[in-house]
């Protein structure tokens, strides 16, 4: 069992990572895994397993408000979850076969893509029902829906497009989630926004709803296999729930545009650290 100081360090890191993630509208896993490996000195497999629980906790904790606001498309979520959980299953198979250095290098690449995505703006496509060609699959499955837009004071109808492309990207998102212990926003955002062309609010709510099930598919395997150390995963999960709650409140008061630029720098710095870890160079003292 780790000493109390390290437990408190895990709690503080998870609260911070999740609060920052929540403020920027992303899961904290992308900050938690590098923090645990680079600064905590944990093996990346143990960090991924711990982070997976925090991803589930954050997803479940914030899903309720999205569901009651009717922003989540639950039929689309279960359709895409067939792909994300299958990807996670592949990820579980690969996780124990890939060396830690490859996972660190892959994580560095994901961090850099996330930094690049953070610099750009999410694009909202037009949702004019008359002018669009609905995907056949989406129509057969009755995935088109509407959501209440409080600013407009009415329901906004939207169609789900290019479901096959969305499913392919979601398989990749599930795979990355299981391998790296993250929510995989790096693939989910292009899948939901650009491929399926969902309204941003629906995209965020539905993605958040799916993240928990995707992470549970790999989480259950890591838990049964014994990769999940309760003394590490416990504080990380609890800290993440507290951090996500804080992040949602900070979102209201902190200008996220300025914060976004700061964290592009942080993501690039973490990517550099993960690359150094991948090649076996550890310039930072460990907290453990």
């Amino acid at each position: 069992m780790p000493h109390t100081g390290f437990t408190l360090w895990l709690l503080a890191v998870s609260i911070g990572a999740s609060a920052v993630g929540g403020t920027l509208g992303m899961a904290g896993g992308i900050f938690i895994v590098p923090a645990l490996t680079v600064f905590g000195g944990l093996d990346i497999h143990a960090a991924v397993a711990a982070s997976i629980v925090s991803v589930i906790a954050c997803s479940c904790g914030s899903a309720a408000s999205f569901l009651t606001s009717s922003l989540t498309n639950i039929r689309l979520a279960i359709t895409l979850e067939v792909a994300t959980t299958s990807g996670a299953l592949t990820g579980v198979l690969l996780a124990n076969r890939l060396p830690a250095s490859s996972l660190c290098a892959l994580f560095a690449a994901v961090l850099l893509v996330s930094a690049w995505q953070m610099l750009g703006r999410r694009r909202e496509f037009a949702h004019d029902a008359e002018q669009t060609h609905a995907s056949d699959w989406a129509t057969v499955l009755r995935l088109h829906s509407s959501y209440p837009d409080q600013a407009l004071g009415r329901s906004v109808f939207y169609r789900v497009r290019r479901l096959h492309l969305g499913l392919a990207l979601m398989y990749g998102a599930g795979l990355i989630s299981a391998l790296l212990g993250i929510g995989s926003g790096v693939l989910k955002i292009p899948a939901m926004d650009s491929a399926l062309r969902l309204p941003i609010k629906v995209s965020s709510a539905t993605s958040n709803f799916m993240i928990g099930v995707t992470a549970a598919a790999s989480g259950v395997a890591y838990f049964i296999h014994g990769d999940m150390q309760p003394a590490i995963a416990g504080p990380v999960a609890f800290g993440s729930v507290v951090g996500a709650w804080l992040g949602a409140r900070l979102l209201m008061v902190i200008p996220s545009d300025k914060l976004r630029l700061v964290f592009v720098v942080v993501l690039v710095a973490l990517a550099a650290q993960m690359l150094m870890t991948a090649v076996g160079f550890h310039p930072v003292a460990h907290a453990a």
Partner: protein, 106 residues
């Protein structure tokens, strides 16, 4: 409002309640385990008890999304929606396979 939409809204409310309650329970179990550990109760009781309490919370969190899919499967079966019932069962089967893989991995 279509019958589908009415049923989906009721399901959304049920899932919101379950996920919210589950998050509270999981967080509480982990918090109790952490407090026991940090207060040094592990020396008085047993370290295993502190770790087990946290493990219950972690297991609860992992089980929560699975319970959510199970509830969706039951709801879709009750709505006689064959396509979505099958999809929910497929998701549960994939998670079951992942659990099996966790037992068999070296």
């Amino acid at each position: 409002m279509s019958k589908d939409l009415v049923s989906d809204r009721a399901l959304e409310r049920l899932l919101a309640r379950v996920l919210s309650m589950g998050t509270w329970l999981g967080s509480a179990a982990i918090a109790i385990g952490l407090v026991m550990q940090c207060m040094g109760w592990g020396r008085v009781m047993s370290t295993v008890t502190c770790v087990r309490t946290s493990s219950i919370g972690i297991a609860l969190f992992i089980f929560l999304p699975i319970l959510r899919v199970l509830l969706m499967a039951i709801a879709f079966v009750r709505m006689r929606d064959v396509m979505f019932s099958v999809m929910a069962v497929v998701v549960l089967a994939v998670i079951g396979m992942a659990a099996f893989m966790g037992m068999r991995l070296n």
